[in-house]
Amino acid sequence: MIKLYTLMAVALLALASCDDLFDYHPYDTDVDGEKGINAKNIVRIEQACKGRDTIRFVMMGDSHRSYDEEKALVKSVNRIAGLDFLIHGGDFSEYGVTKEFEWHRDILNGLNVPYVALIGNHDCMGDGEYAFKAIFGEENFSFVAGNVRFVCLNTNAFEYDYSNPVPNFGFIEECIMDVPAEVSKHVAVMHAPPYSEQFNNNVAKVFEYALTQLPGLQFCLHAHCHKLLQDTIFDDGIVYYGSDCVEHRNYLLFTIKPDGYEHEVVYF
């Protein structure tokens, strides 16, 4: 009998070694580990890039269930010389489950450079949006890298009703009205591009008009489509670059220089 009690105790102790012993519900938003990633990383990016007019960053997105591929991506990105930061364009998760965000966060924390996270439509499933906000941060945010400000927007209108404006023109207006002195260029980043099924296409042109009011808009970035895209969606010369999904094992590498910018696709 003592043997059996011991066996049960050993079985329980073995379990206690698991990372997250108790699970209340997949959508419980009971976050283990680091929170508020964007805010912390933005401080790091802004400090490291201060006063510079050349910046280098990676744009990727749609990691979904591709954990192994994302690990390989981190390994590849860590080899890039002179990289400043990485942008995850949304759809971290497949189901919006708390654990998925934690797994992806832990993988991206292996990056040598800071990263920022945008919310994707899959990240809004169930209570995923709340877990995303706790772990990464607000759905609309901006940060300054050198002389470039990145305006990051939630464009997953399909996942919201009118009680939550998507895209949030109030936020874009604030960015237009309040440009920091060191900023002369802008890049707009979003998960779903205009005219995708997620976007509020009733305001697609108004959205583009608002973005072009940002001084020195260089180009726009998006994820969501699971393929490499490069389109001048609105015939106004503003190029929208779409990053592929992690499963397809490539990402976009941008270098913004004083006299323009370069971009390339890196396969890993």
Partner: protein, 230 residues
């Protein structure tokens, strides 16, 4: 909002009804088959009533359970029925409380759970026994507005193939059963402490095809108490 709340209310009312009806029937004095020759004509009626009463009687829950974690909320409680030759099958209906954590509100989780307990092992004492293995399959339903059974109509067909409301769970566990001596029984015949180790469909799908996710990452512990009423 209102439809979903009313679904919950209907389910809660149904559960109460199921719990209350047989209890009431059981509490009343039973109709007896009479030997009076004059009422032979009524024997069929009495038989029918007898069958009806014993059918309803089977619906009286024979156990009450409390469980911690297990994807059913933080704490859940409910009623259960056992059946089979050696009561090796159990069906539980549980209501769980899920605190709000980082979200906007606390939620209710309803669970329908089937347990299979193939063996019982004596431990050399008459009052304690061990169930070396329990196998459980259960479905949870999270009750809140942002969760759906299948994707809302506005989405293109097959946009989201999964349900965010219902989760299918699997678990294995062990139990220790403590018999309460007859003269000290108040509300229960025995008390069982148990643990279960389990996972759900979403976690299994995340594990599938990935080396990064280890089996231990998707397994979770749950602890419980069972009061066997009769």
């Amino acid at each position: 909002m209102s439809t979903k709340w009313s679904i919950f209310k209907t389910m809660a009312a149904a559960a109460l009804l199921v719990a209350a009806l047989p209890a009431q029937a059981g509490g009343r004095s039973r109709l007896r088959l009479t030997t009076d020759p004059d009422s032979v004509i009524n024997e069929r009626y009495h038989h029918r009533i007898h069958h009806l009463q014993s059918a309803w009687e089977k619906m009286i829950p024979s156990m009450v359970k409390l469980q911690y974690a297990g994807g059913m909320g933080m704490v859940s409680g409910g009623i259960g029925w056992d059946y089979g030759r050696s009561r090796q099958w159990e069906t539980d209906f549980m209501m769980g409380f899920l605190p709000k954590f980082e979200s906007d509100k606390a939620k209710l989780v309803l669970t329908l759970k089937e347990n299979y307990i193939p063996w019982e092992v004596g431990l050399g004492r008459s009052d304690i026994s061990l169930d070396p293995l329990t196998v459980s399959v259960y479905v949870t339903s999270i009750i809140a507005d942002d969760f759906w059974t299948s994707q809302p109509e506005r989405y293109p067909e097959g946009y989201y193939w999964f349900s965010t409301r219902f989760r299918l769970n699997l678990s294995l566990g062990q139990r220790l059963v403590f018999d309460i001596p007859e003269n000290r029984r108040k509300l229960a015949r025995n008390l069982t402490v148990f643990y279960e180790v389990g996972t759900n469909d979403f976690y299994l799908l995340s594990l599938w095809g990935n080396e990064y996710i280890k089996f231990k990452d998707i397994l979770h512990l749950s602890l419980g108490l069972k009061f066997q009423i009769f």
